[in-house]
Amino acid sequence: MRVGLFIPCYVDQFFPSAGMATVELLENHGCDVAFPEAQTCCGQPMANAGCSGDAAAAARHFVDTFSGYDYVVSPSGSCVAMVKHQYPKIVGNAASSVVSKTYEICEFLLDVVKVTQLQASCSKLVAIQMACHGTRELRLATGSERPALPTFSKPRQLLEMVDGMQLVELQRPDECCGFGGLFSIDEVDVSCAMGDDKLSDFQQARAELVVSTDMSCLMHLGGLSSRQDRGLKFAHIAEVLNGDWA
């Protein structure tokens, strides 16, 4: 199967290791990965600012770039949710050639590749930062709001395949970190208060390493943590599913 890899714009520029881990993870599980160089951004920053007309240009470009692949996979639940939930509203039928075949990396590994074991190890205490769009739009896990439904978590299921994995439990397992794209700038005070609470939750659980399906949460949380010398480490989930963390 030919997999078109979509690397979010900020991951391309600032978190190349998360992108490379995604490539290796897919290749190690037999996927024929291609990174179309023409790709740019899913358009979410513009759509969330209320400028869906400006987002439409980026969305159409995404559709043109990726419609020829069997699957489109991305290490970002938020960008994938943008494609699956917002593209049909923004570019209409044009979106249909990508919507049903675009996957976040965890759901792709479990639901399409059907991964049952991984070559990875970790000796750190790990907390999962459940990114909101992954949880509540892609349904990568049962959200805490829906306790009457059967419990599952795709990121957790994969992390549990890592040798030596010790996951810690948070008091608020899927509370938003406060990033929210431009919200992190527009509402800087609330955004940072939310992030600080999240860091405290990681620390009361004695986590050493925080992993997430989205680097955007980690950019915000990591930025707060580093400013306050909290001593936490942050990594994209692909880096842990494909690495040895001593």
């Binding site: 909101c132 527009d186 509402e187 005070d189």
Partner: protein
Amino acid sequence: MKHPEAAAGFVADSAKSSWHDQALWGVRTKRDAAVSAIPEWEELREQGARIKAWSLAHLDDLLVQFEAQCQQNGIVVHWAADGPEHNRIVHGILAKHRVKKLVKSKSMLTEECGLNEHLEAQGMEVIDTDLGERIVQLRHEPPSHIVLPAIHLQKEEIAETFHKTMGTPADMTDETELTRAARKDLRERFLQAEAGVTGVNFAVADKGIVVVCTNEGNADLGAGLPRLHIACMGIEKIIPKFDHLSVFTRLLARSATGQPITVYTSHFHKPKPGGEMHVVIVDNGRSALLGRKDFRRSLGCIRCGACMNTCPIYRRSGGHSYMATVPGPIGSTLAPSKDPKTHDSLPFASTLCGSCTDVCPVKIDLHQQLLAWRGELVKMGYGDRKKIRSMKLAGKVLSSPTLYKLAGIGARIALRGPRFVLPSEAKKWLTNRDLPPVPAESFRARYRRHQK
């Protein structure tokens, strides 16, 4: 003032903001526990959502049916197109009965219409009888939450208010003692009142009855003691059949406070012997909202407050930061339909985390509505113009591979250089946060090497 500035004021007192967050998270936790005890919860939400959708689609017929049934039961029905007409009608009924003192149970509709101010200006005394509402009334503040109106206040602040207004001892800060003091004061006022005004939780079309849910029994005393009962409702409170009521009473209290049902769920069928009962049905912008397909589902709201309790922004910024009758996610989608200019920052006071949508007992797509409002507001010419201009530029750059590559190189160079050349957005980020270390190579550069 816009939401970010108002929120900053509340967040600045980090101890209080954190206490507020914990208090409401506690309510959310109780709601989760109540929900997990109902295996069919998600089906119940679906039923609630469908009944509301059907009711809104047949609102015209249902309202007429409701009016006819009420009249048959001896209830007088009034229609008000807007807030001022509602206030005139209520005042007219009270004036006809020479009412000077009245008691009122919680009603967000009368809050929205400014009924208290209107009646007080005409020389009437209005006493709010819900404990939380009474507290904020004594402080001349609006409620900060629709179910827990005084949730922004700590008991010491309430003790001070009671000391100043009711003469309780200054050091009396015990919750039970404060509640007893308020109850004693309110009992007198119930006995003196010549009329009782209540809100309406559900108006049952096929029976012509109104259902009022409280935990304190204050609506029952207010409606039961005086001869005159006036119930005020928005047009969207209609449900088609009595058989549908249990779906909502099961959803409402569990979502609001985690109780299986409100302590008092009272059905008002007809006036008491020798008394009068009036129902005032108010539009005040609701039929206009019904005409907006992206937003009409917000009219299904049963005012449980669950979206406030779960909202991580509301919990930290407090209800007053919204500067709207109804705060939180539902308020942020309702308010712009009334006055987009004043409330243009509210749909942006969200990370679009979606928690509100998933707790809503009638499945209103709240975070999708907030996103849709952002687009509407930009189209209407509101919102931050500078940001909109930068989005236009971003749209151009991010749809062109060449411009995108150049911008990426530019950003990585700029972030390595001196901070003063950065745009104001980056500076705002940097007030409390570091930026990630800039890597030597972008992903695409590394990928090219990987391929070789």
